[in-house]
């Protein structure tokens, strides 16, 4: 066995974004010895980039709002494929999680009477997002980070987990490496929480950073856990499209929530042409009504610019494809023509700065050019809705890495609240699980040795493949063949290309030594990237219909039968396979919420 250090904990939380931090705070608070492991420095996780806000039915702006309305919005946004129980818990508990952040020092923007202000976002019936300008994620991660430090969580920064260890089918810990030194370590644990975020780096145009390589999804699958809903990938409708170096960087939905509108090259507000039947009764039919809605919700219906993200992304895709796009292949997002410059700068300071610095565009004077960007995976590790326990004992998951909460499509703002609600739950139940175990599960030296051998292999090969080229080709493949619009033929050829890339990934070699070597780090990230790409593609082949974040050109309509099932991905003999399973039946009192409409 290669030389490694060993640490012992009750709970090891992998990932230090909102979900991981919240889980670690909770587990530590319950007395569990807790480690928080993250690939970057603390406070740099993807949560920091969240802009718009935290969805929570606090009713500060619209007293009519309550958890039932939020629950219904979430389910309808998710095309009724969500785990109803998760959606319920989420809607019920989100307000308390927001108030808790305030108690830990977060300062949200205020209403005139001094309460937390809430903003409009797509798919939410009422203004519901607690926010801080357009940098809500920064406020959230910093607050949690300070709290975690004050609570005494032990943090392993710049440390990547490569494998989970199991002992007779239950979790025993993880094998990891320090990015800085390249040294290996074994983290023994009674419970592991996966809070590793998403998989966006498998696509070329993405709002996600290098960290988003699907680590948690792959670690769970390799350890024997189920994944669910992997076909549902959210392409956020508004990413930057120009210049090329910033292509994919997020433009917050808050721009539209605060009055911005989408236009095509002809200047037409095209979203009026794309209102789906299910949202017709609550969506404005004319520009006049939509504009009146911002000030008077009671007698007007909301603008179609704020339809759920999947609808808007597909509409933009169609406009561009049919030749009505902007010069750089997007559409226009205009707030300059609608709101005074001072308002824009106050409400959207990061967007103003981002466009000014990176694209030479003054958004208080000119429209932005935007287009869809891979943003979020609805699918993830299959968990118990109450405890966040995965299908392997001792394994828990929360946040983007977990599946079920958002169904076929996530509403904006529901991610930050998801991180808090289910981060807490994962931390609590992981700590309880650990508390019930008298001893640490045993570590199997063979598993450790296999992981270590694999980790060091790229140094032992000469003249192999360049890991950067393999990643780039995978991104091209997923972008081209497993993007917003999919077909059976393309998905099948994606599987073939992924298989070839997998062989090439097994031959990558890296130069230099183990100390802070990004080429080596990427070589090891290729494993999870290829695994999640394959899972998404397999699940997308299985779902022969169009629904939410999964659109099949060959099956353009939703299929009511498929609306009753989830697609589960499970490893058999090391290979991912798919099975369909029925959705959990919603209780009658919740069903009635959808009849009242």
């Amino acid at each position: 066995m290669a030389e490694h250090e060993t640490h012992e904990f009750d709970v090891v939380v992998i990932g230090a974004g909102g979900a991981g931090l919240r889980a670690a705070i909770e587990a530590t608070g319950l007395g569990a010895r807790t480690a928080l492991v993250c690939k970057s420095l603390l406070g740099k996780a993807h949560t920091v980039m969240a802009e718009g806000g935290i969805a929570a039915a606090m009713g500060n702006v619209y007293p009519e709002d309550n958890w039932q309305v939020h629950f219904r919005d979430t389910m309808r946004g998710g095309k009724m494929l969500n785990s109803w129980r998760m959606a319920q818990l989420h809607a019920q508990e989100a307000p308390d999680r927001v108030y808790e952040l305030e108690e830990w020092g977060a300062l949200f923007d205020r209403t005139a009477d001094g309460r937390i202000l809430q903003r409009d976002f797509g798919g939410h019936r009422f203004a519901r997002l607690a926010h801080v300008g357009d940098r809500t994620g920064l406020e959230m991660i910093r607050t949690l980070q300070h709290r975690a430090v004050a609570t005494g969580v032990e943090v392993f920064m710049e440390c990547t987990v490569m494998r989970l260890l199991t002992d007779g089918g239950r979790i025993a810990g993880a094998v990891a490496y320090w990015r800085e030194s390249g040294r290996l370590l074994v983290l023994r644990a009674k419970a592991v929480v996966l809070a590793t975020g998403g998989i966006g780096k498998a696509w070329q145009v993405t709002s996600n950073s290098w960290e988003y390589t699907g680590d948690g999804h792959a670690l769970a699958l390799w350890a024997g856990a189920d994944l669910v809903d992997m076909e549902f990938v959210q392409f956020h409708p508004t990413g930057m499209v120009w210049p090329p170096s910033v292509r994919g960087i997020l433009v917050t939905e808050g721009v539209r929530g605060d009055g911005g509108v989408l236009r095509n090259a002809e200047g037409r507000r095209f979203m009026f042409d794309y209102i789906p039947e299910v949202f017709r009764s609550e969506t404005a039919e004319t520009e006049e009504e939509a504009d009146r809605w911002y000030d008077d919700r009671k007698s007007n219906r909301r603008t179609p610019d704020l339809l759920p993200r999947d609808e808007v992304a597909r509409a933009i895709n169609t406009e561009v494809k049919e030749g009505r796009g902007s010069p750089h292949g997007g559409v226009f997002l205009d707030i300059a023509g609608r709101k005074p410059a001072e308002y824009v700068k106050r409400r959207l300071p990061s967007m103003y700065h981002q466009f000014k610095e990176l694209a030479d565009v003054d958004i208080t004077r000119e429209p932005m050019e935007v287009g869809p960007t891979c943003h979020y995976v609805m699918g993830g590790i299959r968990v118990d809705p109450d405890t966040q326990a995965a299908t392997v004992p001792g394994l828990y998951a929360a946040g983007e890495a977990a599946g079920g909460m958002h169904g076929a499509n996530r509403l904006g703002g529901n991610s930050l609240s998801d991180l808090l609600v289910f981060g807490l739950r994962a931390g609590r139940f992981a700590a309880e699980h650990a508390g019930a175990l008298r001893e640490l599960p045993a570590v199997d030296p063979d598993q450790v040795e296999a992981a270590e051998r694999e980790a060091l292999a790229p140094f032992e090969r000469d003249e192999g493949e360049n890991p950067y080229s393999v990643q780039q080709e995978l991104q091209d493949c997923m972008q081209e063949l497993v993007g917003i619009i999919r077909t059976e033929g393309e998905l099948k050829s994606a599987l073939e290309r992924i298989a070839v890339l997998r062989q090439r990934a097994a031959r990558v070699s890296v130069g230099g030594h183990r100390q802070y070597n990004p080429g080596w780090h990427l070589a090891l990230d290729l494993g999870p990237l290829l695994t999640v790409s394959e899972c998404v593609t397999l699940a997308a082949l299985e779902r022969r219909e169009s629904r939410g974040g999964h659109t099949r050109d060959d099956y353009p309509k939703p299929d009511p039968e498929l609306g009753k099932v989830k697609v589960v991905v499970r490893a058999r003999d090391g290979e991912p396979t798919v099975v369909r399973e029925p959705l959990d039946e919603m209780p009658d009192d919740l069903k009635r919420l959808f009849e009242e409409q």
């Binding site: 420095l41 300062l107 205020r110 920064l138 800085e180 700065h353």
Partner: protein, 252 residues
């Protein structure tokens, strides 16, 4: 799309020493220094160490010195430099080098650990906290900090005086103290610590930190100077001094 060549002069090495090496890569209009560094990584030096995450100036990971100036690599456009001249990129000088452009910034995390935590007053009777927007505006300015540590890097108290790190928290931490001290809900008093072990007095207001802040936070004017005033008040106001003594004596 116009493509042209850029030469990056990158510091390569580790704690034991290193050197500047030239790499020429094709770049496109609109690209930033981090893009060029990534091109070098992908095609010529796979093991070139650099930190980055968001690539949009929001996470503060890719701090380095470009032609000697502390900057975020992801927010530094290539077109601000003279074409044909090499662009020199070196690691932050105030922190020990780990490898290439990556430095050991653990000093900042240790200092963060020593900040006495936020301690809020009780909620209102209805279970909420009421605060007016104008009362939190100034603290929200400090909350914009992305922890890029460029202000720490440029601060001459620690830039060339390793010894001072023992007794000086630095501008980033002063922002943190300021946000807590000025937070409408907080009840802790950190003034003695600030004036003592955190070395607020060592800052002589040259405003270098404010100049490099990518978030345009008024570090010196809005945080450090008001903190200095508060610390001075706590120390030299005899009535406050006496009251403080008595209070401390009353609570063992």
């Amino acid at each position: 799309m116009a493509s042209y060549d850029v030469t990056l002069r990158l510091w390569r090495g580790d704690a034991g020493g290193g050197e500047l090496r030239d790499y020429t890569v094709p770049v496109e209009d609109g690209e930033v220094v981090l893009d060029a560094v990534h091109h070098v990584q992908a095609t010529q030096a796979g093991d070139l160490a650099v930190r980055w995450n968001c690539k949009a100036g929001k996470c503060g990971s890719c701090s380095a010195e470009v032609n000697g100036k502390p900057r975020l690599l992801c927010m530094t456009r290539l077109n601000v430099f003279e074409r044909g001249e090499p662009i020199t990129v070196t690691p932050l000088r105030t922190f020990p080098v780990v490898r290439d452009l990556v430095t050991d910034v653990s000093f900042n995390y240790e200092m963060a650990r020593r900040v006495p935590a936020f301690a809020p007053r009780a909620r209102e009777a209805d279970g909420t906290y009421r605060m007016q927007q104008q009362d939190i505006d100034r603290v929200q300015e400090f909350h914009k900090c992305i922890e890029c540590f460029l202000c720490q890097d440029v601060c001459h108290v620690i830039r060339d005086h390793e010894d001072n790190k023992r007794s000086f928290a630095g501008p980033r931490m002063f922002i943190r103290y300021a946000e807590l001290e000025m937070h409408p809900l907080d009840t802790n008093d950190r003034r003695e610590l600030l004036g003592g072990q955190m070395g607020l007095g060592l800052c002589n207001i040259t405003k270098c930190c404010t100049e490099v802040c990518p978030e345009d936070i008024g570090i010196t004017d809005n945080a450090i100077i008001p903190l200095k005033e508060r610390v001075a008040d706590a120390r030299y106001d005899p009535i406050a001094w006496l009251a403080g003594k008595l209070r401390r004596r009353a609570t063992p």
